[in-house]
Point group: D3
Chain length 248, copies 6
């Protein structure tokens, strides 16, 4: 039996709170069980040097854990003058995942900064960051849309993410911290609402996995992402009409 | 008339939420109007090199603004490899203020890390950090007290803080961001519940101030800190009995 | 038709040169087409702080591109005081992949440093680094084995890696730089000689991919890794007998 | 009795030497007892980005202690790649204090860099830095004045600074190092020649202080600053006529 | 008798391999005995700020040892966030030596980056870097010459370098690592093919040396550099005709 | 005619002031013409890791220019988080030069830190640093000698340094800044009082030099260093008796 009595193919409750802080163009608190992350999207009217004059925009992400988001206090990166390797890996993943569903030409020469600050970490922070950041991104782009009315709405699909893994020889969905620390195989599945993969990262540092196990994990992951994307649709439904109208 | 209809000697509503996150030994969300700061206190079983073997403990603070806690996005310190001077100044102030009411000998060889992460900044973040961090500190030390029962309770007094300033020739209490940006004189008042000063920082960068004006500002500040400390007492009342008993 | 007339499921020639430099305990030059990487393994008689006294060893990797390993000169990390995010991601991947086939308890309290320095980059440097570093690791551990005779030989399996991707709607194996820069989907497949997966990283930043496409890519990848591992076996054959004997 | 036989309300001898080094536009050695600081003012014909095109100038300060200005050698900041927090705090204070008496619009788009390098530290280096830097600033601006004749002379008032504190229950003026290290309360008073406050920083880290004690300290401070400013007037008198003429 | 049976005035075999990597405009592997260094020259179409608009070009060098180019692994500079002092010293020397034979006006507003990456270090890496980098520089400038035909060929002379030293009271030429580590006096001699000195660095950290000893060392050095330059001429002979024609 | 009417073989007045600051074990102000450098020697009762337990001491030097020691303000290293290459080169040179005349075994397990802070730079700061630092070193070691009475006095010889160069085809001694900036050849000569060389660094970045020119420069240098060492002997004469007694 899993912690909290969950079934192997069951995700933790996903709660998305929009307009969580007041200054960001998009601001979302995502809670997946006890994992809590503030996802802010900020619009800046310029692009990195390599895109100047290209007509294209950019999306970049930064991820950070508050020092006491974990069991023991994690020193801030600045105290060591180095970004932690894991942090670097995660923020690159968040950036790629969001860029993959955005039409950067349609966005035009703007940068959208995604800031994912983990307030409380109980497993799955990288996938929750993507799922929450997507909603913040939609809010930020919708705000732009109201001001300047895009011809082509710059977001092509929903994107959601979830983790899967093998713990005690069981394939399970949405690992909490305790499960994650015992997992032999650990995989992050990032998909669109059309059921396609955006990114797939599976690691068997503790033990290699077979193609058959991979298949089972993917099936679990697909199931989990669907529910995450449903939660995104639910919370965006009320004031976000572009999906059904001429937005896209 | 002030923003929101406040009187010159009126502070914004102060809301303190304890046990805000689940891992820290003390975790408090302080809200002063729209200023929102997560204050976590973490206990570590060692001290900095200069105190090893001394039998004394240490309290140190780190302050940080989330990138989008302000109107425009503020890049993270790590992206420039430098701690912002203002940040440095504030975290040193928070550390000094809390150490001044703690008996470091009674605490013993432990370090308490205070992390103040500003989620939303609307003026007064350095004073709110101190006021909120004090409650987190009490919770952390009480937890230690339950485990090891201090002979002398290591906290000597409450400490609260508030800002005062001169805006449009009016002396006002607890400046919000918009007031702060127009202030000619700006002062931070940090006091104990016994009405004594812990630290006083007054700056007239825009215009010098007279001793008479200073006196009026101090009187305003004393009034404000009293209310802040009352809010601390209220929120700590229920499960914190050491004040009235043999705690101290 | 692919560059150089390769078929979609054909890898470039893999050449492994052992004892490439004279000081490292294991030193291998791997050439995969025009990609050339020096992979050195160095043994150090201590472990990182988190393993002290545990009886377990550690394997860690560093990856670096010589400034002119690419078409235009890439400034050194030290000139910006920051490790490039991509570099960080890759060196973490190399470390995980090698640790996954090593019995760190059997190794004992030693650190093996893997240094992968790219002399010339023509696509697939992260997978070639893993494939080459594995051979350097075997040489380094064999040298230890000669000195101290392990009871359990610390390497459990071969590990090889290759990239696959979708370019012009074709699924292809072992992308060179020019193919990689046009790829819609890009995947790195890391496997053991027993046909199990160690790590899988697939990214559809340019375009999402379906489960069916994923399956085809995995099949291609399995084919490629098999050939890479055969090349490792060939070059190690002569003086590395542990595989067939009581080494494992 | 104080060290050297001083009375509680007596400052140490203040010696200001102008044109101390030959390249800086303003160069002053200030000696307050055994505290010796080189204060240089350098004029640069550009402003920081946030002032470009504003027509306003800027004044910024850097403070540094030579490694052996203190009893034991203090490693240079560069060896740790971090500016010391105390240094940061002090240089921000010096910059604010000087800006507060300068009409930055009248100065025009120039930056004046103030460098305070402590050769020998015997208490009160932050206040002595301000007092000495002011004289260097006057010399630098006078030199500009000779070249371009300001319509409005950019300096509005003299600014001087001194420390006060409570040591062994005595309120004393201008603490030397030995007194400072025993002080229960420590305050820096920065004032104009018109008797107004520019900045006030009082810290009771060792023990809180009452409003009455604060009043006594302020009275002492006012007395001390007056003497410092007299020393500034004396040294500037001979070749600096703008005070009495149309300079201001 | 010297290691390998060399005579005191004998250099190790010098082997220069051109076009060692495929992207750099000039790419040379230099081997001097067991010392092996990759020397790449890269052309960039801009100059550092201090030369913008001057019509002059620039040559700058970076030197780096691969971590396992030495007996024990040397951590990368980036892991300490600091360039090693010795590295800094060497790369400045390489840059000065090459600039001294180049007509920077004739080169025009271009920067040539010289990267010397030491694969294997067995003494004399700084002099070998200069000798190898010169050949890479010639190749890079010849490539430019083919594209744009310089009026004045920008290279004025050959430049070669060798070390000399005093070991066991013997003056010897071209010290290998083992000799270098026992040397009382160590000198680097950098000269043109016209027999003039470009740079001379002699150090008697272990023991001072007399003017007479200096003279003998210089004579040895002259002999060694001549042979190095002959090796450069030999390897460049085939496809580099500018020396005898109107190139210069 | 040279600036100030000097002859080609004439050095500027050398003035050495001992006990310049009060905390350092040795503290010297050296003035060579308008070049002014504070040279402090600090004794520390430990050695770097590579000497622990060896019984040997260490001498290390740091060199720094105050920001306004030069015509235009030079930003501090810490503002760029990088030590300037030239600074690195110079401080390594100072350290080597002093170590070469010290018997590190006789010194025992202590580190002597040499800090050379340039207050005013008018050419020849690296040689003046060595000449001044030597006197500070003698004072520091003499102080140790009084406390613990060395069996073998740890200093073997005097060491002095001077620059020579070729300006307008004239070989000249002790270049001031203006001469240095026009020099075709520039050489630093570091010698003992016994007329032996400690280090020799000659650079012909602007133009190569012949062996004959080198000889003339060395003769000039020898003459200059003699006078520098005489100045050291003069200033140390009064209270430094070890030279004539059993000190050495």
């Amino acid at each position: 039996m899993r912690i909290g009595g969950r079934k192997n193919d069951q995700i933790r409750p996903v709660k998305l709170t929009r307009n969580y802080t007041k200054y960001a163009e998009g601001s979302v608190l995502i809670e997946v069980g006890d994992t809590k992350i503030i996802c802010n999207a900020s619009i800046e009217d310029k692009v990195p040097p390599f895109l100047k004059g290209s007509g294209e925009g950019w999306i970049t992400a930064e991820y950070n854990m508050l020092p006491r988001s974990t069991h023991t206090r994690k020193p801030r990166d600045i105290s060591k003058l180095k970004i932690d390797g894991r942090t670097m890996e995660i923020q690159r993943l968040i950036g790629r995942a969001l860029r993959s569903v955005v039409d950067l030409k349609a966005l035009g020469e703007k940068t959208i900064w995604i800031d994912c600050d983990v307030m409380q970490a109980d497993g799955g922070t990288r996938t929750a960051s993507i799922s929450g950041a997507f909603v913040a991104l939609v809010d930020a782009i919708n705000r732009l849309h109201k001001e300047q009315s895009f011809k082509v709405f710059p977001i092509r699909s929903f994107v959601g993410a979830i983790s899967v893994g093998i713990v005690n020889n069981e394939k399970i969905l949405d690992l909490c911290y305790e499960e994650d620390s015992k997992a032999k195989v650990d995989m992050n599945v990032i998909m669109t609402d059309k059921g396609e993969f955006i990114e797939l990262q599976g690691t068997g540092e503790e033990s290699p996995f077979s193609r058959r196990e991979l298949d089972e994990l993917l099936t679990l992951g697909e199931k989990g992402v669907k529910q995450v994307i449903q939660a995104q649709k639910d919370v965006l439904k009320i004031d976000c009409l572009w999906i059904g109208t001429g937005g896209e």
